[in-house]
Symmetry: C3
Subunit: 332 residues, 3 copies
């Protein structure tokens, strides 16, 4: 079974959203177009559409993240779905009940979607491979592997500001090696046909095989930023500062912190992005983060629309057929 | 004041649902019939009925149980009620505010129902005896005493598969002594006129007075399973394994674990039930739990419909009269 | 920028609700009148009005308070708003992300209101000074500073029982010095034109400057209660009993605990109030708390209506203009 089969149903429609890898440009474009149609909802007096009324969306968070959980909860509520928040400490799962038994139980309660966050890479795929046919899984971040809704909101933000991807030169700056965000961004930019993708960072933080994706590697930030249209900063995980991977906070800022000075190497109308939360004075200077080229808060706003789009797409596929199948199978 | 008076209103309708004991066969049958009418809701595209719109249902959990809380929360939301989750550690209650003062406050906020979970037997009754006239209490498990919604979803599952109770021979297997589930099951089966109720377990785990309920006691599992239509397994509380009550996990499995071999003593079309979460390889073999005779996940599905039924019955009684009474009494 | 400017918009309508201080009698009266229109909602069969449908109200609790959070959550749900509960331990904020960055993110998600609870005085003002134009802030208690929704529900309760404020003599009893409730009550009573405001307590617990507000100070409780129409008790913070501020629990009760005997000094139809949770036998005798003159539970009921009123007022101001402004500004 290929990755493509897991994420798409037999009619080629998005069933799970686990990773950008293995999807197609038309699917990504459909996500962006659908998100565009939801982008106005947040600004309406009544920020709600009845699309997923009566659906049950379960946030299954094996790793705490108030921020991410909040964006999915808001997206689900604005689609009029019922939301269930379940926080599972890994210890509790291992003790009481296997993860699969827990999933079977939630399925039996007729949940429609699991939004999964897990510290282990591959957790969302594992769950998707084992859920019942009527359930969709959305990956809200798994270990170092993927954070695909973040990548799609980034693509949405780029397209709104810069239009067609094939004209764009984009730099991703920071700890590429450990970043699930970077992995997902590179796959998305590549699929959408970005003109040039660059990664910038110290040697210890760039995966060796990254150039096989057609990505250009820079260790000098000014060189890497030259003439780019989009600068995508990554968050420094301060806990990594302790080990051998990263230089000191101060040295990192000198080399790879985004300042107005370094940013002047990019195109004059380049936009600056960051997945948040930002470390001011570590990977980005406050004058840049709060400056006119920063679209960091727009990314947050767009995140709601993009998550609404993905939720609506995976649950919206031929709902009536599904219900039919399930009803007849119910008394089994 | 008898138990019957507490649970029923002056017109004999269900007001609280605390325990199966003291209820009548017509009331239990009404619960099962009402649940039948909700059983299809989970399979609909829009899994919601507007029956309890504008009602406030409060989950008052003095003992943590994500699993049970989730089923009540889903049931309430599918009835369109507003749900409030309140987790109270016993220490907090004892320090800040007496339980009665806390209840008075929630009543004053016009909550309509308390779903109560408590480690102490009798807690739900205590609360029911002290709430205001407009409040209903549903017991979601109190100590070793009762877990009546579990028992009713079990009855619902049995009736769906096996029809009339008076033809059925049913065995309950495990730690009968400490199980609130078993107590509630025995009362329900007895009231619904089951042909024969058997309990199977080691001597240390069978209450001495159980035969006064017309229950037949077996210590040998094969003998106890002979010719039964329904096998109801209980969960082994592993923490009890430490003491003198239970043999080792391995020995317990040899004697009372449900294997395909032991199950072959039952009728060929016997169903296997378990309240969950299951301890695979302790009280039940995975081949049985996941096998064709297992209805364990159907129990979970039915649990939503049965809880919807009970909530709708206790809150649905002459809502208009109640509102009238309350309005006139409001300005006191 | 004066306090008045922060709480009111340019048309003089309530935009934030942070403190009673700096507001006007017409605004307070509008809150009370609006609350009156919501007072019946809790007694209706369907306890919901669609006024804030599609609005997102975020409970930002930097200090845990199930009780207060519950009242705001119920008020928001009965106005049909979507509610997001966010509990932030101060440590987490200081580590990961600055409070302002967190606010910017929630704003970007198109939240409409922050209900703020914080252990530090001034926190709600700080947030209000820094939020985007489309956000309203409601103070749910900040340090020793203010608890204005509590004060307004007290005013509402007094007006329902006693009518016009200019005829009333009112005593506040207890730890005035540390009480955010007392501060807010004094401001509200003063603005609404109460005939006489008295505070009663030991010298150590009365602020020195309180008489500048036209408040009369009593250290003898019987003298202070003479001929009052309303007795407003404060909760004793038992943790303060350890220090030099307060005498022993027993001694405090002898001097300032409200007993039937002491209450007989007040007018025969005086009402007794308390913000809850009550310490029975410390600041109030159970016979008084549960007696015919106590309106303590009515205060709780009224709290929902008053919070609904404040939420509806701050979010109801020319919603259509707002949406217009936001939509045009959205693509920035």
């Amino acid at each position: 079974m290929t990755m493509r089969n897991i994420q798409l149903d037999d009619k080629g429609r998005l069933r799970h959203f686990l990773t950008v890898e293995g999807l197609t440009r038309p699917i990504l474009t459909e996500i962006l177009d659908t998100a565009e149609s939801f982008a106005g909802v947040g600004a309406q007096a009544v920020k709600k559409v009845p699309l997923l009324r009566g659906k049950t969306i379960t946030n299954l968070f094996f790793e705490a993240s108030t921020r991410t959980r909040t964006t999915f909860e808001l997206a689900a509520k604005r689609l009029s779905a019922d939301v269930l928040n379940i926080n599972i400490s890994t210890s509790a799962t291992s003790k009481g009940e296997s993860m699969l038994d827990m999933l079977r139980n939630l399925e039996a309660m007729h949940c429609d979607m699991f939004v999964v966050r897990h510290a282990r890479s591959g957790a969302a795929h594992f769950i998707a491979r084992h859920v019942a046919p009527h359930i969709s899984v959305v990956n809200a971040g798994d270990g170092c592997h993927a954070h695909p809704t973040q990548a799609m909101l980034d693509m949405f933000t780029i397209r709104r500001h810069k239009g067609e991807f094939h004209k764009l030169r984009i730099a991703i700056v920071g700890d590429i090696l450990h970043s699930r965000v970077a992995r997902s961004q590179i796959h998305a930019l590549s699929l959408l046909g970005a003109h040039e993708i660059r990664v910038i960072g110290p040697k210890t933080l760039i995966p060796r095989d990254v150039s096989t994706f057609g990505v250009h590697v820079f260790h000098d930030m000014r060189a890497g930023l030259a003439d780019v249209d989009v600068v995508m900063m990554l968050r420094v995980q301060k806990e990594r500062m302790q080990g051998a991977f990263l230089p000191s906070e101060h040295e990192y800022y000198q080399l790879y912190g985004l300042t107005e000075d370094k940013l002047s190497c990019a195109k004059h109308d380049a936009i600056v992005m960051h997945p948040g939360p930002i470390n001011r004075g570590v990977e980005i200077d406050s004058r840049v983060a709060d400056g006119p080229r920063s679209v960091i808060l727009e990314q947050v706003t767009n995140g709601i629309a993009v998550r609404m789009a993905i939720m609506a797409m995976v649950l919206g596929r031929g709902a009536s057929d599904d219900a039919e199948t399930r009803r007849t199978g119910d008394r089994g």
